[in-house]
């Protein structure tokens, strides 16, 4: 027996750390499995908790004080799997914020197949955000937002109205940091800001809506992924699930839907019925967490293609995206569970049973939870397939279709079709796609050999790249993009010297068949300042491409060919885009205003720089989404 197998007294490093949190928020009490324990990848934590990427700093700006930080490594806390939920102990608040933030981050990292970094710094300007700060009680305000200025997420606390307290006790203190959804939502903003440098420029009407919608999608899918919570509710509502979906996959056309009053609307999706318990569940989740009425409504009403033309407030418009994604989710869930119902029906030989047997509920919950994880994964991966600037809902649809195709080209369950139909019914079209078919919606693949391979690019492994490797990659990519600038569609007046590479990320992803796919996602961006008009200064106008670069298999001579560019997802500079953006900035108040001494933005709340005035005409800061204003209900 070699000595490497000798017994040892050293305690192995733990792999996970369990922590208790509210599944919703304190007001949901103990209903629906509201108190749950989540398991995080273990990392050593200093009091705060302070970890490698996340640091809880409990500073209260309104009271100008700090609150005692929790030491999660204290044995007395460790032994009970974290502090028990309590509204009056700030240390539980710190624990919950850390736990859900870390879990959200973990899920993104798993889905994307790489480590996530926060907003990178600008050489000479600032050092970015190496560690994201979480401030559970930053201010006395009914608001919570991610702010690059504060290098983190600020959660507010406030008192419930004495006259319209809603589900709360009149006048009680409400902590936004105790809402599971709010934490997941804000984390999503921070994560996207870290992935895409220019996504926070509100260059078209869809941009702020995309942020809000995507963050809600993440928060909702998290609920669906937690099987225990799901199970509880499915048991309560399950009977009707069986009753409703004898033909779960209703096709286009007229369906006699008794519960919709037999309306003859095209109902392609099973999920629009009010009686779908998953819809109800989503709405209950919404209600339980004080989710906005707009989202609840979007989930519960038949799709229409007018909303996309009329809804411009970020949350309302974002709800359209949420509803489109969830429609597809419900369609797939129903398809996946159809057989379970068939079996159940055969055995039970009556059609209108109200009870759902425990084991069936269990299987349904498992299917719903797995489907939720699948969908979250494809949504997160789609981020990598978006153009680097000026995102629209249509772009996101194309990114979804492409991202899904890349991991599962065969698509036996027609998931891509489900996405396409649910987007189409909501009037979301992809500009630039000639047809509404899968082929046309998928980003065009680069013609073989049309672009030279990128020699020397280092992909590393899932542990990340060293600084040396990163520097080398950066040089290679800059050189490559400049040399091929014309083919990639960049403006050539500066010979490509003005193209920057805001990011490149090697990704390591597991496909449904278990195969490992290794790609690199590269952003390349060109910036011009365009005049708003004679007296409103200028705005940053950006164009660029996202390159998907892929490692090649060994060739016949047992050599490794250089990696090839497979997709060039482009949104380049053009006069047309410039004019569109200019008009958008005018109409939505990004210009200097009457009554506006600062960068006076009114209306839709997606403006107003980071506290800088409009005095400087070319101040880019006024073209940044301010989540503080949006989340404050403006």
């Amino acid at each position: 027996m070699p000595s490497i197998f000798d017994a040892t007294t050293a305690v192995p490093e733990p792999t996970v750390r369990p922590l208790k949190v509210y599944a919703f928020d304190p007001s949901a009490g103990h209903l629906m499995g509201n108190i749950m324990s989540i398991s995080l990848n273990y990392e050593k934590l200093a009091p705060g908790p302070v970890g490698k990427k996340l640091a809880v700093v409990d500073f209260d700006g309104s009271n100008n004080t700090y609150y005692e930080p929790v030491n999660l490594d204290d044995p007395r806390i460790l032994i009970q799997g974290g502090i028990d939920p309590s509204e009056s102990d700030p240390r539980f608040h710190q624990q919950m914020v850390y736990a859900i933030a870390a879990e959200t981050l973990q899920r993104f990292e798993t889905a994307l197949g790489r480590h996530i970094h926060w907003r990178p710094g600008e050489p000479g300007a600032n050092d970015g955000i190496p560690v994201l700060l979480l401030m559970p009680h930053a201010m006395y305000q009914a608001n919570a937002f991610y702010s690059p200025t504060a290098r983190g997420i600020l959660f507010g606390y406030f008192r419930a109205s004495t006259t319209q307290p809603g589900k709360n006790f009149p006048g009680q203190t409400i902590f936004t940091c105790l809402s599971h959804d709010i934490i997941a939502h804000e984390m999503t903003h921070a994560i996207i800001d870290g992935i895409r440098k220019y996504f926070t420029e509100p260059s078209n009407i869809d941009v702020p809506a995309f942020h809000e919608g995507f963050a809600d999608i993440v928060a909702l899918f998290r609920h669906f992924a937690h099987k225990e919570v799901l199970l509880d509710t499915l048991r309560k509502t399950g009977g009707r699930l069986f009753d409703d979906y004898e033909k779960p996959d209703a096709s286009m056309g007229q369906r006699d839907d008794r519960r919709n009053g037999g309306t003859a609307q095209p109902v392609i999706e099973a999920q629009i019925s009010q009686a779908n318990p998953l819809i109800q569940l989503a709405q209950q989740f919404g209600q339980a967490t004080g989710m906005r009425a707009g989202l609840r409504q979007a989930l519960g009403t038949p799709p229409n293609s007018d909303d996309i033309k009329t809804k411009i407030e970020p949350h309302d418009r974002g709800s359209i995206l949420v509803a489109a994604i969830f429609s597809a989710y419900f369609t797939i869930y129903v398809r996946r569970t159809e057989n379970l119902f068939r079996i159940f029906r055969t055995g039970a030989d009556i059609d209108d049973r109200q009870d759902l047997p425990g084991s069936l509920a269990e299987m349904l919950a498992a299917a719903a939870s797995k489907t939720a994880t699948d969908f979250f994964t494809v949504c997160a991966r789609a981020l990598d397939y978006c153009p680097p600037v000026d995102i629209t809902f249509g772009d996101f649809l194309r990114a979804l279709i492409t991202a899904h195709y890349e991991t599962d080209p065969a698509d036996p369950e027609n998931i891509r079709d489900a996405f396409m139909q649910s987007f189409r019914l909501r009037g979301i079209v992809a500009e630039g796609a000639k047809f509404f078919s899968e082929d046309a919606l998928r980003w065009d693949a680069v013609r073989p050999n049309a672009l030279k391979p990128i020699t020397g690019l280092v992909f590393g492994d899932p542990n990340g790249l060293t600084k040396l490797e990163k520097d080398a990659n950066g040089d290679i990519l800059r050189e490559y993009v400049r040399t091929n600038a014309k083919l990639l569609g960049f403006l050539m007046d500066q010979n490509g010297e003005d193209i920057e590479i805001p990011s490149f990320h090697p990704t390591f992803r597991i496909g449904p068949d278990g195969s490992l796919k290794i790609d690199m996602v590269v952003e390349a961006v060109q910036t011009r300042f365009a005049k708003l008009d004679d007296d409103n200064g200028s705005f940053p106008m950006r164009g660029g491409v996202t390159l998907i670069v892929t490692q090649q298999p060994l060739d016949d001579h047992d050599l490794r060919p250089p990696p090839k560019v497979r997709y060039v997802i482009h949104n380049q500079l053009s006069k047309e885009r410039e004019q569109k953006q200019r008009m958008h900035y005018f109409a939505h108040g990004y210009v200097k205003h009457f009554h506006g001494d600062e960068a006076g933005h009114h209306g839709h709340g997606d403006g107003h720089g980071h506290g800088k005035g409009a005095g400087d005409d070319d101040d880019e800061a006024r073209f940044q989404i301010n989540f503080g204003l949006i989340h404050g209900g403006l």
Binding site: R151, F175, H593
Partner: protein, 506 residues
């Protein structure tokens, strides 16, 4: 900086003649506003505010008399006269039309002043009463901001002697429309709370925010002897405070309006171009108002300490590693820098929303097209201009809007000459040589340094260009002992002036 650039650009493209005019009206450097509240105010002459017949002489002026007074029966060759009274920062327009029989029919469009009140509105109303002989064929209230309606409250006794054949308002004012009523009530409550909340703030920028909030209710200004009574009083007058029971009609974009018979017989037609009937927007604002009101419950407004004192810790005792490399002071500063000024944003939004309720009317008389746009901003204009919201449609001017704008003979400049009320597309599509008027008073809103001054100098320069220098602004003339704004000459052709008002006859 930007303004200077615009000036340079304007000079470059303008021939000498134009440059001279420019000096007169728009780009002349503005002097600091005079303290009119104490010194420059005209004393209303005895009885003039209550008894129009005792006021100014029948062909005189609201001021102290003038040699350039146009004869009051005068209209242009097309039988039209547009009169703009100088009241300060507000709107007061009288449109007079000649009937085939040769007499004049009158349309009053707004009557109010708020910030920048120069104390002349009572005299102006008295003058108007004389001119119209207390008869209005049509009265239009574009929207319920104090700077458009305060005159009705302040001079309610004068208006109680008026016969008004027809009143037009936007659909937002319809007392039988529960959506509109709920909406307006919510707005008023929000405005009151904003006023209270802003009372504790005192920077120059905050003064403007206060104006905005008060403009919605009209109330605090009434107390401080500003433009006159509250908006509630003014609305009461408009809804039944005249000598006769004047019928009120409520319109939205696209409605075919009903004109009184005498105007119809005279040959007038009208189209309603705004505001659109946007229930989505209403719902959205409604929800926000509710949220806001709930969040500003006075009983819970006071600061709270969320936790027991035992949990408190001094910054110096907090573990240093939590601040990473940022440093504690930097982290604390980041928190305060990141706080959005919700109050300011809310006040601006409320102001914006109300302006977008403006009834936008296009008159057509003997082939002449006159556009009165109230204070409509983008949210109102976009429906007319593009047929959709900006950002979701093709956003090209519709054929109808192009046709209308290209045929305009007169344009009442929106929102006292602020940048957000005259979209560039609209201005560029207007007929070259269109005549424009703007009622304004400098020095109350915005700062020239930050490019937000009202009236906006480069915007007025652009309008002058489009109008071939046929733009008149109300403060180009004196009224009583209030002088014209510093550096401005009286308007030239095609306008005629009197003490207190400017006429355009066409």
């Amino acid at each position: 900086m930007a303004a200077k650039k615009a000036k340079r650009a304007a000079k470059k493209r303008a021939p000498k003649k134009r440059a001279a005019v420019k000096k007169r009206a728009a780009t002349k450097k503005r002097a600091a506003p005079k303290k009119r509240t104490t010194k420059g105010k005209t004393k209303p002459r005895k009885g003039s505010s209550t008894s129009p017949t005792n006021g100014a002489s029948s062909t005189g002026s609201p001021g102290t008399g003038s040699s350039t007074t146009p004869a009051d029966g005068t209209v242009g060759p097309s039988g039209i006269r547009i009169r703009m009274y100088r009241v300060g920062f507000g709107d007061f327009f009288l449109l007079s039309l000649k009937t085939p029989a040769g007499d004049l029919k009158h349309i009053l469009i707004d009557c109010g002043v708020h910030a920048g009140d120069i104390g002349t509105i009572s005299d102006a109303v008295a003058h108007m009463a004389t001119v119209t002989n207390n008869n209005l064929s049509l009265l239009i209230m574009t929207h319920r901001h104090a700077d458009h309606i305060s005159g009705f409250a302040k001079c309610k006794d004068v208006f109680s002697q008026f016969n008004v054949e027809q009143v037009w308002m936007s659909w937002f004012e319809n007392p039988d429309d529960p959506v509109a009523v709920k909406y307006q009530n919510g707005m008023a409550m929000v405005a009151q709370q904003l006023t209270m909340a802003l009372a504790a703030r005192s920077s120059p920028a905050d003064k403007e925010l206060k104006f905005m909030a008060e403009n919605i209710t009209g109330e605090p200004m009434a107390l401080s002897d500003g433009g006159g009574g509250s908006n509630a009083v003014a609305l009461k007058v408009l809804h039944g405070g005249f000598k006769n029971a004047a019928p009120v009609a409520y319109y939205k974009a696209g409605d075919p309006p009903t004109l009184p018979k005498d105007l119809l017989d005279a040959g007038l037609t009208a189209q309603i171009l705004g505001p659109p009937h946007d229930l989505d927007l209403i719902k959205q604002m409604d929800g926000k108002n509710e949220e806001y009101l709930a969040g500003n419950d006075p009983a819970v407004a006071a600061k709270i300490e969320p936790f027991d004192k035992v949990f408190r810790l001094k910054g110096s005792d907090y573990p240093k590693e939590a601040f990473h490399d940022y440093g504690r002071k930097d982290v604390e500063k980041g928190v305060s820098d990141a706080q959005p000024d919700m109050l300011a944003a809310r006040a601006r939004q409320a102001d914006n929303t109300l302006n977008n309720q403006s009834l936008v009317v296009l008159f057509s008389f003997h082939g002449k097209q006159l556009l009165f746009a109230g204070d409509a901003q983008w949210g109102n204009w976009e429906n007319f201009l593009y047929g959709s919201k900006v950002g979701v449609g093709p956003n090209k001017l519709t054929d109808t809007s192009k046709k209308i704008l290209a045929s305009l003979d007169f344009y009442k400049v929106g929102h006292h000459g602020s940048t957000n009320a005259t979209p560039k597309d609209a201005l560029a599509a207007m007929r070259e040589g269109v005549v424009a008027m703007v009622s304004t008073e400098p020095g109350y809103y915005g700062k020239e340094k930050s490019g937000t001054e009202v009236p906006r100098i480069p915007l007025l320069a652009a309008i002058e260009k489009q109008t071939d220098d046929q733009l008149a602004r109300s403060d180009q003339i004196k009224v009583g002992d209030v002088e014209a704004s510093a550096g401005l000459d009286a308007p030239g052709k095609p306008f005629s002036t009197a003490d207190g008002y400017i006429d355009y006859n066409l």
